[in-house]
C-alpha cells in the first residue's frame, strides 16, 4: 500500500496542506497501549472532520427546528445524542409529524440506518482487538468518516475514522439544541446548497480513491445502477443496502482466479494481498 492513498489526498485537498504531515496509515499501534489522541492518523482525521462538523451544526439546527413542534424541547436533543444519524432522524420525525405512529417511525429509521450493516462489514477486516472494542469502533461510523477512512482495496483506517467522526458529534447535538431553543437562525440549509456537499464529497472520494480499473470500477458502476433502479421503487434506505449485492462480483473473480493464471494475477493486483 502506498503511504499516501488517493482517497487520503482527496481529503487533504479539503483541509489544506498542513494535514499532509502524517505517518503511513498501516500501523496505529492498535494492539499497543498508545493513546489514540497521540496517533497522527487520529489528528489527521480530526482535521478532515472539522469542515463537516460545521455542516453538522447547520444540519443539526434544521433538525432541531423541524423536530421541536413534533417532539418538544428535550426529545430532539436526546435523539441526536443517542442516534447520531441524520437521515434516520429526519425520516422518523417526518413519520411522527404525519401521525404515522411509533412502529412506522421506527421502521423508517431502521431502514435508513441499515446501510451501516454492509458499511460495517466493509470496515470489519481492518479492525483488530476484542469484540467490545470492535463494537465501539462501529459506533463511530457516519457516512462521511467511513467514506473518508477508506484506503482502497478493501482497507480502512479506523483511527482516522474515529478522529473524523469526533468533531461532528458535539456539533450535531449542539446544533439540534440551537434549533430547538433559538429556532430558525440560518434559514433553510438547502438554500445554501448544503445537501449537495455530501454527495459531491462522496463522488470525489469515489473518483480519486475507489474507482480502480477492473472489478472495483465494475462494482461501483453496478452499485450505482442498482441504487438508481430502486430509488423510485423501494422505501428510502433499501437502494443502498441492495447495492451491496454488486460486491458479489468478487466471487466471480475468485472463481476465475482458480481457473486461469490471468485471473490469478488479476486477483493479486486488484484486491491486494489476501491475509
Amino acid at each position: 500500500m502506498p503511504p499516501v492513498s488517493p482517497a487520503a489526498l482527496g481529503v487533504r485537498a479539503l483541509i489544506g496542506p498542513a494535514a499532509i504531515v502524517t505517518a503511513p496509515p498501516a500501523d496505529h499501534g492498535q494492539n499497543g497501549r498508545m493513546l489514540i489522541t497521540r496517533d497522527p492518523a487520529f489528528r489527521e482525521g480530526v482535521r478532515a472532520g472539522l469542515p463537516f462538523a460545521a455542516a453538522a451544526v447547520l444540519l443539526g439546527i434544521s433538525f432541531g427546528v423541524l423536530a421541536e413542534p413534533v417532539m418538544g424541547q428535550v426529545a430532539p436533543i436526546v435523539m441526536s445524542a443517542a442516534l447520531f444519524a441524520g437521515a434516520a432522524q429526519f425520516a422518523a420525525t417526518a413519520v411522527l409529524a404525519a401521525g404515522g405512529g411509533a412502529v412506522a417511525a421506527i421502521l423508517a429509521g431502521v431502514l435508513l440506518n441499515a446501510r451501516y450493516g454492509p458499511m460495517g462489514v466493509a470496515l470489519a477486516p481492518s479492525l483488530r482487538g476484542g469484540a467490545r472494542k470492535r463494537a465501539a469502533i462501529g459506533q463511530a461510523m457516519i457516512d462521511f468518516s467511513w467514506a473518508a477512512a477508506s484506503r482502497g482495496r478493501g482497507s480502512f483506517d479506523p483511527v482516522f475514522m474515529i478522529g473524523a467522526t469526533l468533531p461532528s458529534y458535539p456539533c450535531w447535538v449542539a446544533g439540534t439544541a440551537i434549533g430547538v431553543f433559538a429556532g430558525d437562525l440560518i434559514g433553510d440549509p438547502e438554500a445554501l446548497g448544503l445537501d449537495a456537499l455530501f454527495p459531491a464529497f462522496f463522488l470525489a472520494l469515489l473518483v480519486e480513491g475507489e474507482l480502480r480499473p477492473g472489478r472495483p470500477a465494475v462494482a461501483a458502476g453496478l452499485g450505482a445502477a442498482i441504487a438508481l433502479a430502486l430509488i423510485p421503487l423501494t422505501p428510502a434506505g433499501l437502494p443502498i443496502i441492495a447495492a451491496s449485492v454488486a460486491a458479489l462480483i468478487g466471487l466471480l473473480a475468485a472463481r476465475g482466479s482458480a481457473h486461469g493464471e490471468k485471473g490469478a494475477s488479476d486477483g493479486a493486483s486488484e484486491s491486494g494481498p489476501v491475509p
Binding site: 429509521g109 470489519a124 463494537a135 478493501g154 462522496f202
Partner: protein, 105 residues
C-alpha cells in the same frame, strides 16, 4: 408523547446494534479469500450508491427527479472528470445548487 420516546429508545438500540454488527461478526480475524474478495468490493459499491441516493430525489409522479441538487453534483462530476480535486468539486456543487435554487424558486 409516548410514541416519541418509544421511537427514540428503539431506534437508539437498533442503530447501535446495526453499527456494531459488521465489526463484531466479521472483524478481528482473517477472512477466507472469497469472502475477502467480496468485502473488498463493498466500499466502491456502497460509495457509488450513496452518491446516487443523495443526488436524485423521487418526483411526485414516482420517477427519478433531476433537481437543483442533481445539477450541483453533476457540476462537481465535471470538475472531477477534468482532473479537479475534492475541494473545488465540493465547493462548485454547493454553489451551483444554491444559485440554481435562488434562480428557480
Amino acid at each position: 408523547m409516548t410514541a416519541v420516546w418509544v421511537t427514540i429508545g428503539v431506534l437508539a438500540v437498533a442503530t447501535a446494534a446495526i453499527r456494531a454488527s459488521g465489526p463484531v461478526l466479521l472483524g478481528g480475524r482473517d477472512l477466507p479469500a472469497p469472502v475477502h474478495q467480496v468485502v473488498g468490493l463493498l466500499a466502491p459499491a456502497l460509495l457509488a450508491a450513496l452518491v446516487v441516493v443523495e443526488t436524485f430525489s423521487v418526483s411526485a409522479g414516482g420517477g427519478l427527479e433531476v433537481d437543483e441538487r442533481t445539477l450541483g453534483v453533476g457540476a462537481a462530476g465535471i470538475v472531477l472528470a477534468r482532473g479537479g480535486s475534492a475541494l473545488p468539486a465540493v465547493a462548485i456543487a454547493a454553489i451551483v445548487t444554491a444559485v440554481a435554487r435562488a434562480l428557480l424558486s
